[in-house]
Amino acid sequence: MSTDAKTLSPRAVTWARRRQATRRAWDAYRVQRSGMVGLVLLGAIVLLAIAAPLLVSPADLSVTQATGGRMDPPSAGFPLGTDTNGRSVLALVLWGSRLSLVIGLTATVVAIVIGTLLGLTSGYYGGWYGWFTLRFSDWFMVLPSLVVAIALLAVMGRSVVTTIVVIAIVSWSGTTRLVRAQTLTVKSRPYLERARALGAGDWHQMTKHLLPNVLPLVLASATLLVPSAILMESTLAWLGLGDPTVISWGSILNEASNQGAVSARAWWYLLPPGLAILLVVLSFMMCGRALEAVFNPRLRGESS
């Protein structure tokens, strides 16, 4: 590195270092089998969700243009049978992946952005502001998230946007704590004192020194937030609090419950959406645990 520094600009040195760090992280990630399995599964699911418009036509999803009977068992025309309206369950599940993934990812991104902003500023500025944000996130963390989500959705009305907002509201607090703790650790290191002595302002310190140090941990915790956001979305949709005009795995199962699919023993109608949720959540969990092991050395060798 020291020889590079003579010939390269500071920016190039930084990027070379970051590339190296990424490669090291990837090497530590790659050796974890469950993490790789999760990554491959996730890649396949995302591809299917992106390709869904090619595989499923709008007519397959329309209640009025359905061609099958009411809850028909699997057949050649309908590999996974039909729902109460005669639509193909396979088409519904393929289409539902889009909404479940979009809501899970968007809600997580919103939650992570709020959490990182609050945590970073809280740890950096400290004082009464730091105290207040810490207490506030503590308070949020204690509240039962499903109860808060149900209460908020019940008064805010049902749409994709309110679902995302509500899930973000109940999930930002953990990230705030995590980022705040990491910020406090990094802040006390000598190189930040050096940066301050050289005249670095608040903005420079936060964006150039603190944020890059916090981001890997945030990434790992975000990967573990997505599955809980997806589970939360499907639970809310199953309870009937989802957007009534769109198809998600939770809303398919909501319809199935309301139309008595369990008493009709329509296993082909019940199994696929639930297994799809399970698969996505499990893949995110496997990736998240592997990432956590990469960035949190205390756990290394422990995760299976």
Partner: protein, 355 residues
């Protein structure tokens, strides 16, 4: 759990038995410290509870819009009828008076009246509380026992076949949506195998004597408890497993082995008691879930508890019931966390030394 002490560095302080004795300490000095500690945390809990109360009013009365609109959305009503309903529900008063009425009412145990049943909410809650406590209490005891037992064995031999299958299974169940697991369990055990009732807590055909009734309720309880336990136990397993992992290499375990103890005894009598601290804290933190953790399970099985009362209230919409249950559910976790903090004083000597 990040700031819970890792038991690894405790172990190096020496024999665990000595540590426990020191923990008992001279009582005179401790009591003033204890009083300060309790007061500090009680103050925090009280502020949290008040915040819940304020935010419940804010969410349901200010964000939620006019309750009369929601109550009358299905049928046409004249302005006079609306005014009469408004007066009856106390909605004609200024917002500030409604707010103070609500706060003083809730603090004195008057939670208002349900729109749906036209009865005091407190009465409705007390009727439904036993069913919830029965379901989630049983489920929680089973989940803790199962999670701790498997977790301790799993962490004792990390990477073994037992460890891998157990951690894999618990992660799988942890990733399963509760409502779907419940539906599949009903499908298999109640619809196909016909071993258990589909839903509810009692059958109308059961004779009213004590024993037949108790057996009938137990029969109805099996599937909901199975669902609840299956989803919840993984958390306890993973915490117990990682606390045991922290202990595995400790010197006092080598000493215990050197004394000639069998492996099982080393685990049970030496490693597990030291690994209990974070796990027991988790149990206390989760005590609030005994009241609010079974919402989804109750909804799947139409179990007549507080959770299904909450879900039914969404769609009526029965705003006073939603509001009261929101406060109750949130308060139960706040109080559980407070209890966990108090418990910490007794089981973690370092807190006593620092205050």
């Amino acid at each position: 759990m990040t700031d819970s002490p890792s038991s690894g560095d405790e172990a190096s302080q020496g024999n665990p038995a000595v540590r426990h004795k020191r923990a008992a300490g001279p009582s005179g000095r401790i009591s003033s410290g204890f009083a300060r500690y309790v007061l500090k945390h009680a103050g925090g809990a009280a502020v949290s509870l008040l915040l819940v109360l304020f935010s419940s009013f804010f969410i349901f009365r200010l964000v939620g819009g006019d309750p009369i609109d929601q109550l009358t959305s299905e049928r046409p009503v004249s302005p006079e009828q609306r005014a009469a309903m408004r007066a009856e529900l106390g909605l004609d008063k200024p917002m500030w008076n409604q707010f103070t009425d609500y706060i003083t009412g809730t603090l004195t145990g008057d939670l208002g009246e349900s729109f749906q049943y036209r009865r005091p909410i407190l009465e409705l809650m007390l009727e439904r509380l036993p069913a919830t406590l029965l379901l989630s209490g049983t489920g929680m005891v089973l989940a803790v026992a199962l999670g701790f037992w498997i977790g301790a064995r799993s962490g004792w031999k990390p990477g073994s076949r037992f460890d891998r299958t157990q951690v894999g299974t618990s992660l799988l169940l942890y990733s399963t949506p509760t409502f779907w697991l419940g539906m599949i369990i009903i499908l298999v055990f109640a619809r196909y195998l016909r071993l258990f009732p589909v839903n509810g807590m009692r059958s109308s055909s059961t004779p009213p004597e004590l024993w037949p009734q108790a057996l009938d309720i137990a029969h109805h309880l099996v599937l909901p408890v199975l669902t609840y336990t299956a989803v919840v136990y993984a958390g306890y397993l993973l915490v117990m497993r990682s606390s045991i992992l922290d202990e595995v290499g400790a010197d006092y375990l080598t000493t215990a082995r050197a004394k000639g103890l069998r492996d099982d005894d080393v685990r049970r009598k030496h490693a597990v008691p030291n690994a209990l601290l974070p796990s027991v804290t988790l149990v206390f933190l989760a005590l609030g879930n005994v009241v609010n953790g079974s919402i989804v399970t109750e909804a799947v099985f139409s179990w007549p508890g507080l959770g299904s009362m909450f879900v039914h209230a969404i769609f009526y919409p029965d705003r006073p019931v939603l509001q009261a249950l929101f406060v109750l559910f949130s308060a139960s976790t706040i109080i559980a966390v407070f209890c966990a903090e108090i418990l910490y004083w007794f089981i973690d000597p370092r807190i006593r030394r620092s205050s």
